[in-house]
Every structure is written in C-alpha cells, then in structure tokens.
Point group: C2
C-alpha cells in the first residue's frame, strides 16, 4: 500500500510521498501581516499544542515573534467554535486584552467572533482576528475573516502524481516530498474600518 500524506508529515509512517503545507511560512506571514498593522500584543490560539507539540506552526510562532519583536502568547484551544468561545471570553474580557488574535484554524476564530459579539467588542477596531486554513464560510462572516489558504488543486495534483509514481516504482524508493506555499488572504477582520 502506497501512502501519501497531506498537510503535516506523519512521524512513524513510511510514506511514499509527503505533500507538506509550509505552516512555518504561513504563521510567519500572518504575524508579519499583524505586525505591519501595528499590533504588538498578539495571542495565538492553537489546537495542536497538546496533540502535536513539535508542530512547526507553533515553533514558528516563537521564532517569528522574536524576529518581528512581537509579544506573542500561545494558548491551547479546542478545535471548534464552542470550544474556543468560552476561552476567548476570558481572554478578551479584561482591560489587558491583546490587540490581535491569530487562530491556527478558522473554526477557532468563529468562537472568537462569538465572544466578541457577546462582549460588545468590534472586529477589527477593538481586536483584530485572523484565522488559518480559509474555510469557505470565513469570507461570509461579518466582518470577512482574514485567513491563510493552501492551493488545494495543486495539493491534489502533486499527491496524485506521487501516488502514480509510487505505484509504478520497483523496489524501495526515497520519499517524494513537495512543500505547498501559503497564501494570506487579507480581509476586513484585520484590515477593515477601524483597523490600526
């Protein structure tokens, strides 16, 4: 059986191919985007802190924050609106709230939106919000959510090519590998009226 992984590489899996999302670059560009808008205190909500502590996305927060001079705090968060909402309520209720929140999945950002609505906080005036992964619903929100998208057509093309190559190969082969570049889609949740 030939296996091609998509997204993160899977440790312990002898994959014929790996189509790896460049999470590191995605996170760096997200933080650069927020930094360029003037944000310095940024909370990063991540679903993967406990499940994949070595994931490059979370490591990239630390290195990018240092390089950009940002005060970034990583907070573990459930991967859903109902999971992130109560957490965001606590994070954003105080006077010392961050000026921006980077959510390492769009689902987490939806809970931040819900919390902001309950607290009467305006996005992006009071707090800028960015997601990650660009779910199709994210552009339909009020305001539309800034997020990072991967070229899924390209992913499918590369993964299919790897599978075809693996099935045609005779004997053991080196793992095929390609890195997919992120595309930051800036929308009103960071750049809208009232943004810095």
């Amino acid at each position: 059986v030939a296996t091609v992984t998509i997204g993160d590489a899977l440790p312990g899996v002898d994959a014929a191919g790996e189509v790896v999302f460049d999470h590191e670059r995605g996170v760096r560009e997200s933080l650069e985007h927020l930094g360029a808008l003037g944000h310095r205190r940024i909370t990063v909500l991540s679903w993967a802190v406990e499940t994949s502590p070595d994931r490059e996305a979370e490591q990239a927060v630390v290195t990018s924050a240092a390089a950009l001079g940002l005060d970034c705090r990583i907070v573990p968060c459930a991967y859903s609106l109902n999971g992130s909402r109560p957490l965001a309520l606590g994070l954003l209720a105080g006077e010392d709230r961050p000026s921006a929140v980077l959510c390492l999945s769009d689902s987490i950002a939806y809970g931040v939106y819900a919390a902001c609505a309950e607290l009467g906080l305006s996005i992006p005036d009071d707090v800028a919000v960015a997601g990650f992964g660009d779910h199709p619903i994210s552009r339909l929100l009020a305001p539309p959510l800034t997020s990072t998208v991967w070229d899924i057509d390209r992913v499918a093309e590369v993964a299919t090519g790897f599978l075809v190559q693996a099935m045609a190969a005779e004997g053991p082969q080196a793992t095929l590998r390609e890195r997919i570049d992120p595309v930051l889609v800036a929308r009103a949740s960071t750049t809208g009226p009232g943004a810095r």
Copy 2:
C-alpha cells in the same frame, strides 16, 4: 438498554422515550414569516427528500404553502456549503429566481450565501434567506441568518428524565413522548435593509 430518540422519531426503534422536534410547526412558522414579508415564490432546499421522504418537515412545506397561498418548490440538496453552493448558483442565476429561499439546515444556507456573493446578489434585497436549526455561526454571518432554534437545555432535561424513568420502570411501558416547540429567530437575512 433504554433508548431515547431526539429530533425525529426513528421508525423501527422501540424507544423508551421520544423527544420530538416539532418540525411541522417550525416549517409553518418559517413560511408564515416569509409570507408576512410579502414573499410568494419560495424555494425550499431540503437535505431529507431522498433519505426521509415521509419526514414531517417536507410534508409541512406542502400543506403550509397551500394554506398560506405560497408558491413553494422543494428542491433536494446536499447537507453542506459545498453541496448547496453549485445548486444555489443554478437556482439564483436566472431572471425567474425565487424571492426567498428557506433552507432546512443552516449549512445549506451557507452555500446560498456563497452563491449570492458570487452572483452579486444582495441578501435580503435580491433574495431573502432563512435557515433551520440555528448553528452558532449563523448569527455571525453578513447578514446574520434568520433561523429556527430548539431549546436544547429543555431537550436535554426531558431526554434525561425519560431515561431515568425508563431505567426505574418494571416491565414494558408505553413510549414516553414530548414535543419541543420551535423558536423562529428573525435576523437581517430576511428582515434587514432592503427587505420587503
């Protein structure tokens, strides 16, 4: 094993209790809401036409439409944004588009929003949209989605009570049954600026 069903009753299941959502009333009140706003040509997108053809929600569309003098057309639709989007593109692209769309799940409504965005149609000016089930994300959309919600705390309380009763009972008992009333939450997708 004591079973309590929630939502639709399950044919063939000898349930100790049934907590049934009053879908019939929910649909009727949704159509009344749209009718009161002046809509006469309404398309109803339903995920259950093929899976549960006898479901009372779809039957209620027919009877309520007749009672209210509405021209309602039921169209089968996949239960997701990506499923409903292409269908909605086709339904809404022509000059003879309906003035309102009632989606029998909020997920379907998200695809209608996406289609409207692509077609340059304004909600509710060009087409009013209502959902069903009130997912927490629906109030975060632009515009916020009119939907029908069930009192989930009450559902949990009743279902738990039925289970406790069933476990304490000796010998066969009649099925316990309670009907949960719908609550229509009118938001800007039907009542906003530009609505009829």
